[in-house]
Symmetry: D2
Subunit: 357 residues, 4 copies
């Protein structure tokens, strides 16, 4: 564990989150253009109209899209539209809604409960979901009635729900009259991984509402809550406004989405990130003493390295997130990744592990 | 009423809102620069640190600043930090919190009540405030206890609270143990109008929390909730997060604020808007058949014109907001206003009113 | 002002509230009987079933009744079933929901707004209601959409809405797709005053939900939220439970209602109270120096007496409530009133006013 | 399985819940007495004052007591006083707050989360609690901060926390600045089982707030939220009112509590229930083919019987609650239990199991 990882002209990459990346040039260009002229506020502008039209093209259907600035807002607002204050939302224990939103779902729904349904690889298990729904109300009004299911695509474990998995969850949801929400903070990465159309990944599978993420994928601060059923969207304008998420100069969020979606910039960015993750995983697999936890399906790699190596990597300036204390780390590969970023980390790992390990 | 207002090379200006303007070049430049490199998410970035430092300089004191993307979020979150779910906030009937936030204050506080205290020219009357507080709890726990006062600086009527007015309100608030919030969506315009320092306009007057607006003043989507008393800010991080207002790529909001505050761009922009409003009002005063409702103190002009003239102006493409049905209109002058914008409107009014009126 | 009002064997009556009275013997008998045997909890008991059946008889229609223990719960829960968290409820400024429930409507609805609509004699003015509804949403999603109207029957001013007044309010409500709630904390007094059937006073007039009060009328702690439209009641069981208002030994509330409704005890009690109020008002009218504010229509008398007389009456031990500081008082006559109670107060007033006044 | 369990003069007992019992004669007598005279409303009456005094005697300390009508209200209101809307309450998965209150804790706190901490026999495990607290906030404001712990005494499993167990939980709570709430729906049963003073079971162990139950123990509908630290109670009057839990004729709840507490009726009733449970468990243990799940520590017995026997017992008219589908049942012994009730069930079990089993 001796070779310096960090030659003079090398910048150690930050794999702590996709949020560490900047913004796509297409996004900045669109925002700059939008800044140069006047427009009516609160979404009554051409950018917002064009984004809705573009999303209809992308998803090949009629839809009701509401841009917001954060993923937490998108998720919590979406859930508030499909779950009453006294209802239950079924979600994976590792879901962002459960672990990282400081109670936003509870706040926006007005007090609903997140009921946790586990499953391997960050995905909800079908049998566990069925059991959870069936046993949710042994005492009638004493228990919070099931109202919705939310799944994360790409999941927090870096995996992707296959089409038939989503179908099966949608079936269970429909049978029990639950709405199905998809947290698509990394929707582009999932789509690139699945290599299917946006329609095939969502409403054709039975998804009712999608948090369509763009921030992680290359925007500055732009998401859209997309409803595939009009009746669910009926009061969403009011919900978004009272949450403080109706931007006065909405065009600046819409312009980001336009830049992101235009000319498939979003999919190219996602493919780059996914390819980076695959290279990173392949490289780690080839290093004695390094391991990956599972083969990454999109842009997140979970790996396991000796603790002293982690210390050295941090000292080098590499960014990643330690999961627990056994050497497991999470590496999120952003759209802006370069071959040098990946090679830089692999080289450093090799150097730190050294011939003796 | 015959002369065409709209020669070929003339674009009628939009005075519907300051939100119709684009963004200051300084803001766009800062955002573009921020997009080009990586940074840690959720405010753990150099831009956010620098904005806090810059605000401390601007306000000449220690303070606790929390950037958010919308004015509604800033107001509602600020009120939630100073009013319990069962408390009362005193506000002017015309205040944005009361009229235009679709219940965001009620939502964020968890059910608090806005108690309306009227006063001329969009400003809370001192005697009315005292009476409202004193009569708020005839029945003890049956009534919602007074918790806070919120004032709007610049007010929705285009007026500005004088220093002694704020002092008197702060005195009443302090005597009754109420916190004092200032909605500063147009704070820069007020400051430019008062020609005092930011400190003299706020904490030296007894303001506890400020919604520091930048969006209307030239940003894309950037505000900051600024606490001048640390104990009020203790759980604000959690409140902002669960409201979905902690941006993952926070630097893009902070960069806007940095661009806005840097080199006094904000004050220059506000002075330009105020000067435009003064020109507009002066011009209207000089037109027979046109009237202003009151002399504008910052960047909002209330005027009264014959209804047929309003129809013609709208047909020309001018933007403004009709207040009631008697010909009263609101003209908000944005930072981007030009002499041509003002002259264009005045010329059109003159043309439409014509010699016969 | 000299004669003692309070001979040795005389107890000065308490007109502070109808809540000062005890409970009807029929109510205590029913509760005592219910205590002597076992029963399934949470409303799965014969008392609760019988009360629903009895209410269907009383109201001559199918209905969905939910017993609760307080009037505040009945009102706030009822409003939560007909107004979304971002909606507006129109109510009179003097309504209990607005003045005396410490924000319970805001709490239970999840943040809805009470929009005040004034009118003489404690009743909502029709033109004012129409205007309030029509002007409630100048800015679309920026304003909280109208959702419901609530009226109080008997009103807090001691007046009673005539049938055509309720008809007109219901018409306005229906035209605007608002639900109509009636706060019937003193419903029995109103019914006795109007001398109509319960059906004619409610659903035949267009009332959708009634807070059917019994506590003030002679129960210990018993009310019922009665829905005349099934779809409004669909999730009320859950709402009541999560509010903590589903009593485990529900039969003890239901038994109160059964005792109250049985053999028309409730109407006899209400008629006695109303008659007492009429006697009190007539007596005061006949005393020089005493005045009534308006002729009472049910069981509440507003009177005006010299301030020194009020001091003496309070010293005697009489109970009443001062309204403002000009000598206006509110006298609520409970079901338990006796001729001696009324005569006692009148005699005391006469004595205190004296020949010289 | 042949002998009839149900001779002509025998009524099968209901062990479904302690709520199936009626009310103690002392409670009914107190209520009847309270009904016969007038009193000021909303707790400004002698009964309520006397109950507070009596509770101070019982608990040997100063305290702040707030009567309410339901246990759900007591728990949810108590938690709302010690946990902010964005906070976390640690509770056992089997706790009533988690399983049977339809989201009342979430509603009253304004959106707080219940974090489940398991442990054997219905009691929170100490190590699990420590781990849960320590791992609750890996991401700062992204996670809901720990605010309170709630334990149930007697637990839902029929067990009782020993003094040193409560001490240890209180230590953990104090070290982490969490408040400690005790759900005492069956507090009297726990006290009788522990044979200690009320003080030794609560504040001397570090309990900050107690839901003091009386309904299950023999009242009709009466509980009290008891604070042992004044600062926690500061706004509780408003919280209770806006929840609709401030009874207008409060004396009727207070009178129940007075009857319940007077002359130690509550403890005698609890001892009778506990003794009944002990007899029932002992009897079942002596029947071949019947089993108990654990030795009951207060008034709840978990037993296991052959499924056909359960069917026959239900056909007889016995009341109990099936837990799962393997023959496990819950038998709650109410204060009103008689030897005949216990013997009746045991005889029926013996008869149904028969000699052949």
């Amino acid at each position: 564990m001796s070779k310096p990882a960090n030659p003079a002209n090398f910048a150690p990459a930050n794999f702590a989150s996709d949020n560490v990346a900047g913004a796509l040039p297409e996004v900045i260009a669109a925002v700059t253009e939008a800044a140069s002229a006047g427009a009516m506020p609160y979404g009554n502008d051409p950018w917002t109209a064009r984004v809705s039209a573009r999303l209809r093209d992308v998803f090949e259907c009629d839809l009701w899209a509401f841009p917001v600035a954060t993923g937490t807002a998108a998720n919590a607002l979406a859930l508030s539209a499909i779950c009453p204050p006294f209802g239950t939302v079924f979600c994976h224990p590792a879901s962002h809604a459960n672990t990282d939103e400081c109670g936003a779902p509870e706040f926006y729904t007005g007090g609903a409960k997140l009921t946790l349904v586990d499953g391997p690889d960050g995905k909800i298990d079908l049998a566990a979901l069925t059991t959870a729904i069936e046993t949710a109300r042994p005492h009638g009004v004493h228990n919070m009635p099931p109202a919705a299911v939310t799944i994360t695509q790409e999941s927090e474990a870096g995996t992707v729900y296959a089409a038939d998995h989503v179908d099966a969850i949608a079936d269970i949801a429909k049978k029990n009259k639950l709405a199905l929400h998809m947290d698509g903070a990394r929707f582009a990465n999932a789509l690139a991984a699945l290599d299917v159309s946006a329609a095939d990944a969502t409403w054709r599978r039975g998804v009712d509402v999608l948090s369509f993420g763009a921030t992680k994928g290359g925007a500055m601060a732009a998401e859209a809550v997309i409803f595939f059923r009009e009746e669910l969207a009926s009061a969403f304008g009011e919900r978004r406004k009272r949450g403080g998420h109706l931007l006065s100069k909405m065009r600046f969020v819409s312009a980001q989405l336009e830049g992101y979606l235009g000319d498939d910039a979003w999919l190219r960015a996602a493919r780059a990130a996914n390819a980076g993750a695959a290279s990173l995983a392949a490289g780690l697999t080839n290093i004695d003493g390094a391991d990956i936890v599972r083969v990454p399906e999109a842009n997140i790699v979970f790996a396991k390295l000796p603790l002293p190596v982690l210390d050295l990597l941090e000292a080098d300036g590499f960014g990643f997130y330690r999961v627990g204390s056994d050497g497991t780390i999470r590496l999120v590969v952003p759209w802006s990744v370069t071959d040098a970023d990946v090679e830089g980390l692999l080289g450093a790992v090799r150097g730190h592990i050294g011939p003796a390990v």
